[in-house]
Symmetry: D2
Subunit: 161 residues, 4 copies
Amino acid sequence: MKEIVIKSLKDRGVKIKDIAKIAYDLQVPYNPDLTLDECIISVEKVFEKREVQYTILTGIALDKLTEDGVVEEPLSSIIETDEPLYGIDESLAMTIANIYGTIGITSFGYLDKNKVGIMEELDSSKDNVNTFLDDIVAGIASAASARLAHHHRNQEQADIS
Amino acid sequence: MKEIVIKSLKDRGVKIKDIAKIAYDLQVPYNPDLTLDECIISVEKVFEKREVQYTILTGIALDKLTEDGVVEEPLSSIIETDEPLYGIDESLAMTIANIYGTIGITSFGYLDKNKVGIMEELDSSKDNVNTFLDDIVAGIASAASARLAHHHRNQEQADIS
Amino acid sequence: MKEIVIKSLKDRGVKIKDIAKIAYDLQVPYNPDLTLDECIISVEKVFEKREVQYTILTGIALDKLTEDGVVEEPLSSIIETDEPLYGIDESLAMTIANIYGTIGITSFGYLDKNKVGIMEELDSSKDNVNTFLDDIVAGIASAASARLAHHHRNQEQADIS
Amino acid sequence: MKEIVIKSLKDRGVKIKDIAKIAYDLQVPYNPDLTLDECIISVEKVFEKREVQYTILTGIALDKLTEDGVVEEPLSSIIETDEPLYGIDESLAMTIANIYGTIGITSFGYLDKNKVGIMEELDSSKDNVNTFLDDIVAGIASAASARLAHHHRNQEQADIS
């Protein structure tokens, strides 16, 4: 299942490294020794959670079905234009952001207002509907960053004792 | 928009009265004077919230698109069989249950384990995919019941003072 | 930290086995081969999560400080009488219930309406304020049960393939 | 109860106008005609919700009891130093941010990383423990801003039709 999910993202133009870069930017201020490779491993770990896999597949399906013109109105236009008060895309993505605790949610809120890297590309794409996908990317990056924060803190506390 | 949402539910076999009955059963132990008419008004109030409208339209769309065979595998089978760990249907419905505070969530959890009335019919339907719809009904009934709980408590406190 | 948390619960009358019994009752209908020992291990795993530890310590502190009479009015009376619309106790406990995904929340909602075992004892205690504690117990049992559900499902899928 | 809550905040150095200013900054990019008076009214509306009132009283109580030295270790030090992975302060405040839908949560996440106005003052205070209070202020401002966003959108749609 993990491989299917990674392929689904790749087919929509999102590579693991793109997400790892966002997680890196979120976490490096608190951990200057952090490497991109550690972020890639952390993103891979997030992909192993079943609830994450299901959420990614559902969000991408809604983007693609809207693109294919099979979603009825008025929902179709709401998703296509990313209506500011729609909120379902954020709700879904926050279930991913939340898997390593509350700090994932605050990172998610920050990314939602400051779209960076691949998120910016997805958001400005003219060819595809990425209403769910850009939030999903933010959710995965936020969870991966939260996971790194917990590990870093455990390391610090082990060093003290 | 509210009328579109009510019609969408009716087209899937769910009437306002069906949901109001579930809200009544949830709330009557705490308020013996409660009437079904008050529950119908409370359900109508829940339908006025934009976030609720969007959630209902999205959930029904996912059920129908799965029924129509346009959702790709493996997601299609996951939704069709209501895979126990899927969780997206409950997550979406809980955003409805939550609009009048936490007590809506506990009612939702209770209904999820004790499917009653129209929820039982939807759950056992052979002709339709109702994976999202039965949770949405539970979410609306829970929110309507939470709203009545808040009003009843306000009334009690006004009577004391 | 894990040991401090387990001791805090024990000092308030809650043993790991009491919580494991509730998790067992939640999960055994779906997995008839389940043993109480597996439930004890699952509860122990829940205790390892930092967010869970912090939530337990905070909830118990609020119960004890209310008991000690150092919480100001009107909050003191609200916590002492477990005012039905207070909701903070459930909100805190749901962050525990949620750590292994949405199904933990539905179990929590169910337990909140059907207090069993140690929860019933805590709820009817005359000597102690247990407003937060009974919800925390429900949250831990729900998370432990959700964890078992995920493992059981993984096992089933491994057996098929 | 609303008056008690407003007084509690004032006693801790937070005036309605301070919170309204943060809500204004969040919302004015989307609505250039917005006035500070409208933000003050919106903050007042947020204070009318019972769940909000209870959350504010609980958060302020935890700050004050920690200040007074009656909270046991290790929780006391965790709250006093605002341990980065504590998370209970954010969890509580997000129940406020969430009352007008998901967009409140993304604003909250943004404010949590970009402390402004009164939040910055609270965060850098040497004399008081404000671990819960600064998040509560962010939660109220986020909810007030989300409420304004919904009203503004309703107005736009009414103007079109």
